[in-house]
């Protein structure tokens, strides 16, 4: 047991990684699913154990192969990184549990076990991205997670050939992003001679206004912004989410961009934190802030005019990423905390929405678009119920997590920018009601003169869905856990600046 506890930081990465190798050689699809579920369950348990470990220490540092940094690779779990770890592991587990029916339907039978292998590889990559404290090791995980995610997206080609183009776009832009990032890392290595994040943080301030550092910072930020789909670098996202196999949309929408935003925070606050005033301030305040505002409106307006429901949700994700980035770009403790709050809450919301929409697609064997959903609510009442809860949560109805996000985001915006910024946020959020309402209304109204029989809903689909909807409400009422931990994380980050 102490062995496990001691090695927890690496176990959450290595467990899905090892299982992905095992799963790849299996020929039995069902067994592959069971093993993947087991792997993601183990990862979740390890993450939760990490939480308990972390309640005693302020951070847990782990040297890979016992090589101490700055030469060896260091993994660090602190109050900040625990947030995305929990998101990825919990959503990863629920999505794996949920995935099987869909993979059987949407992917060639002889590819299913390989799909699970890629799936676990993606989770492993994401976990690695979060835990590593080494700038170059981060690049490695960035490649692992994006390449496997690209392959997963392209597997949607059995249902729709457009998945190939979507995957290709994702690949190229992802590669550009990763290359930008590694160029930045290379430049930093050139001037500082180290790759360890905390070491970098110590050495950069001494360099003052060094051109290489400025360029490095810009490259790293831009590279990760592509990965995080910050407007206007988001163009790979809508198609990738829309044409990927259904469970992949759920996993990517709920976790992948969140992790990238987390890295964005890491770069700007952990690596460049001590030299914050020199490098980070301008870019965060006046580049990210305005891009976030544009994202809010652009994403919402695109979603309003979108017909395909999965793509609509993807556009809405662009807008929601805008809210998260906006909170982070405020660079105040309440601002970053509100960003984290929405990071967590949006994972819950979008996972629920994608899960219910793809479930409807599964039941009706159709691509779900705005016209085809008319009256569907009657046929699949449980899924409809879960959808409505998550959609209202997205709209920010009180007693859902979306409301808590909005409350804190607006408070933070008001405290640092006055009334104009909250007003813009609220207008875009009121606009988002239009597309949310379009969906709810469409599902609720009956088709004129057509008989629709009830479809039998499958428990293995609706139980995970109901769990997610329940969490949407539970954390909307008992929000203290999320709020507190977000504030602890943001205070930890802010203290790095001073």
């Amino acid at each position: 047991m102490t062995f496990i506890i001691k090695n927890l930081p690496i176990l959450i990465v290595i467990t899905p990684l090892m299982f992905s190798l095992i799963v790849a050689v299996l020929s039995n699809n069902r067994l592959a699913w069971i093993l993947s579920t087991f792997a993601s369950f183990l990862t979740m348990i390890f993450s939760i154990l990490l939480c308990f470990e972390l309640s005693n220490n302020s951070n847990i540092s782990y040297y890979l192969g016992n090589w101490p940094p700055p030469l060896g690779i260091e993994y660090v779990i602190d109050k900040v990184s625990i947030i995305p770890i929990i998101i990825v592991s919990v959503i990863g587990f629920i999505a794996t549990l949920y995935a099987h029916n869909f993979f059987i339907l949407e992917i060639d039978r002889n590819l299913v076990s390989k799909t699970y292998s890629l799936w676990l590889l993606t989770i492993a990559g994401l976990m690695g991205l979060i835990t590593t404290a080494d700038a170059f090791n981060l690049f490695v995980f960035l490649e692992i997670s994006s390449l496997s995610a690209v392959a997963l997206v392209a597997l949607g080609s059995k249902m729709d050939r457009k998945a190939l183009i979507a995957g290709y776009n994702y690949l190229i832009l992802g590669a550009v992003g990763a290359t930008f990032y590694v160029i930045g890392v290379g430049l930093l290595y050139g001037v500082t001679g180290t790759l360890n994040m905390s070491d970098l943080a110590q050495k950069i301030p001494a360099l003052g206004l060094n051109k290489s550092v400025i360029v490095a910072f810009t490259f790293m930020m831009l590279g990760i912004m592509v990965k995080a789909a910050v407007f206007p670098l988001h163009i790979w996202l809508p198609n990738a989410y829309a044409y990927a196999p259904s469970p992949v949309s759920v996993l990517l929408a709920a976790t992948a961009t969140k992790v990238s935003i987390y890295i964005l925070v890491r770069i700007s606050y952990t690596i460049f934190g001590p030299s914050y005033e020199i490098y980070t301030f301008e870019s965060l305040r006046y580049v990210l802030l305005y891009l976030a505002i544009l994202a809010m409106f652009a994403g919402t307006i695109m979603a309003i005019f979108e017909k395909d429901v999965k793509k609509l949700l993807a556009h809405s994700s662009v807008a929601q990423i805008g809210y998260i980035v906006l909170g982070i770009s405020l660079a105040t403790s309440p601002g970053i905390a509100s960003g984290f709050i929405h990071l967590i809450n949006h994972a819950l919301i979008k996972a629920g929405l994608f899960m219910s929409v793809v479930a409807m697609g599964y039941y009706t064997l159709k691509r779900i678009d705005v016209n085809s959903i008319t009256g569907l609510g009657r046929q699949v009442p449980i899924t409809f119920f879960a959808f409505v809860i998550c959609a209202l949560s997205l709209a920010g109805l009180p007693l859902t997590v979306g409301f808590i996000s909005k409350l804190y985001l607006i408070k933070a915006a008001f405290m640092s920018e006055g009334i104009w910024l909250p007003f813009l946020i609220l207008v875009s959020s009121a606009l988002s009601l239009i597309y949310i309402w379009k969906l709810i209304e469409g599902l609720w109204y009956n088709k004129t003169n057509s008989k629709s029989e009830k479809i039998k809903e499958l428990p293995e689909i609706y139980i995970p869905l109901l769990i997610i909807s329940f969490l949407n409400i539970y954390f909307g009422i008992d929000a203290d856990l999320i709020i507190d931990n977000s504030f602890i994380a943001s205070d930890a980050l802010i203290s790095g600046i001073k």
Partner: protein
């Protein structure tokens, strides 16, 4: 037994009805009896809460403490007592009436209807007893969303369009104006609790007071201040019991109730007087009052006319708050009760005319008085109460409003009230006049349902009773702005 028990009882009863109703869909009689029973229990506990309040006991109950500054909690205030009594008392009448209407009209999806009806009442009661702005906002939004399936009950295209206007205006205003207003109060004062004399004094510089009040006034779309009033006529596509209980009582009264709460317990009457922050609201509400009365004149559809009349009457209440003296606020609070009883009478009558004859145009009602005497007499009495003629309850509230405006020397307001009363006389009394004195045009089949006619008549009698037994009401309203 602890006295807080009555708070649980009044809140939980409609909630339990909400959960049980869908289970009883196979047994309509049992299902429909939940409404009146629930109404009686809720009303009984509200009465007890009221008498405890009069004895000076402040009940409060924290349901959930989210963190140090945020909580979902309930606290009894004078305004809350009044709104709670109105919502629960009229629920009894309306639930009986609803049974008659839904059956007489053979509506579909009755179980869904009754389910959402209970949750709407639940939200209204929670608004009445809410102890801070967060709780108020939460249940304000729940009330909006829970009434949507009721408004769009018919699920046809007209209902879809109306539902969009309804949701668009109510949710839109609450997100864009009300939510930031609440957050501003939160940032300025560090808490969201209500206090008898307001919390803002000393926390905000005087020149910002009108703007913050404007965010609240237009954010509370349910108070139907122009230009955010369109949702109310749109909501008239709903079945009449919804218009009666929700759009004459629960929803709109939740709106003006929230306005009064904000004015008295967040800003504080004295603070508003000091800063003159509410003067603009007097004129906005006066203009709303006059324009909507004029629009009501032009409407031939009975429910649309009543809807515009409601908009104008709501502005009386907002006006009372905006004048910001104790007497005017007292008048506004009494008007919540009087208008609720009067307007529910009128809507009940409109609904019973529709069920019996399927007529909804005023011009078709010529000579119908002889076939439906009780209904039209009830309509007549209700109209007199709205107009404010003694011995109907409505005369008290107008009296207080006028006293309030005299106290503050707003002479123009008195003229406006007078003109509006004249308009009321014209557009309301036209209907019973036509029914009784015009010759009947065509032969129309009249089929009455007893469960519709008696609640209507009973509501009309209630307006007279309230004129005589005004003492307890005066007493409660006297305590509103912290005169304890």
């Amino acid at each position: 037994m602890a006295n807080e028990f009555y708070i649980y009882l009044s809140i939980l009863t409609p909630l339990i009805a909400f959960f049980i109703t869908p289970l009883l869909s196979s047994n309509p009689n049992l299902r429909d009896s939940l409404g009146p029973i629930g109404g009686i229990i809720t009303f009984y506990s509200s009465l007890n809460i009221a008498s405890l309040y009069l004895n000076g006991e402040i009940l409060s109950y924290t349901f959930f403490q989210i963190n140090e500054t945020l909580s979902i909690s309930f606290k009894i205030t004078g305004l809350g007592v009044i709104f709670g009594l109105v919502a629960s008392g009229l629920w009894i009448l309306a639930s009986i009436y609803t049974i008659g209407y839904m059956r007489g009209n053979k509506e579909k999806n009755q179980t869904r209807f009754f389910t959402f009806y209970s949750i709407a009442i639940f939200a209204a009661i929670c608004i009445a007893y809410s102890g801070n702005l967060l709780t108020l906002f939460i249940f304000y939004e729940i009330l909006t969303f829970s009434t949507y399936p009721l408004v769009a009950h018919k699920q046809n295209n007209a209902a879809k369009q109306a539902g969009r206007i309804y949701m668009g205006i109510l949710v839109g205003t609450s997100i864009v104006f009300l939510l930031p207003a609440i957050i501003i109060v939160w940032v300025l004062t560090g808490s969201l609790d209500f206090a008898p004399n307001g919390v803002l004094k000393g926390n905000i510089s005087n020149e910002y007071v009108p703007f913050l009040l404007a965010l609240f006034a237009f954010g509370i779309g349910k108070a139907a201040l122009m230009p955010f009033h369109k949702w109310l006529p749109a909501a008239m596509v709903a079945p009449t019991p919804v218009s009666a209980l929700l759009h004459a009582v629960a929803v709109v009264k939740a709106g003006v109730f929230s306005m009064l709460v904000v004015i008295t317990y967040v800003f504080g009457i004295d603070f508003l007087t000091e800063t003159s922050g509410a003067v603009w609201l007097i004129w906005v509400s006066s203009i709303t009052l006059l324009i909507s009365s004029c629009i009501a004149l032009t409407k031939d559809d009975l429910k649309a006319r009543l809807a515009y009349s409601t908009i104008s009457q709501l502005s009386y209440i907002v006006l009372g708050g905006a004048i910001a003296t104790n007497i005017a606020v007292q008048g506004a609070a009494i008007h919540i009760v009087m208008h609720a009883v009067g307007k529910i009478t009128l809507f009940f009558a409109a609904g019973s005319i529709y069920v019996a004859t399927h007529l909804s145009k005023i011009s078709d009602l010529n000579g119908m008085g002889k076939s439906m005497p009780l209904t039209f007499i009830a309509f007549f009495i209700g109209s007199l109460s709205i107009i404010g003629v003694p011995p109907m309850g409505g005369s008290w509230s107008k009296f207080y409003l006028m006293l309030g405006s005299v106290e503050k020397d707003y002479l123009l307001v008195i003229y406006i009230l007078a003109i509006s009363t004249l308009l009321n006389v014209y557009y309301l009394l036209e209907i019973p006049a036509k029914a009784f004195f015009q010759p009947k045009r065509t032969n129309i089949q009249v089929t009455k349902h007893p469960l519709i006619v008696y609640p209507t008549f009973f509501a009309a009698m209630l307006t007279i009773v309230l004129f005589i037994y005004i003492e307890p009401l005066k007493h409660i309203t006297n305590l509103i702005s912290g005169n304890q």
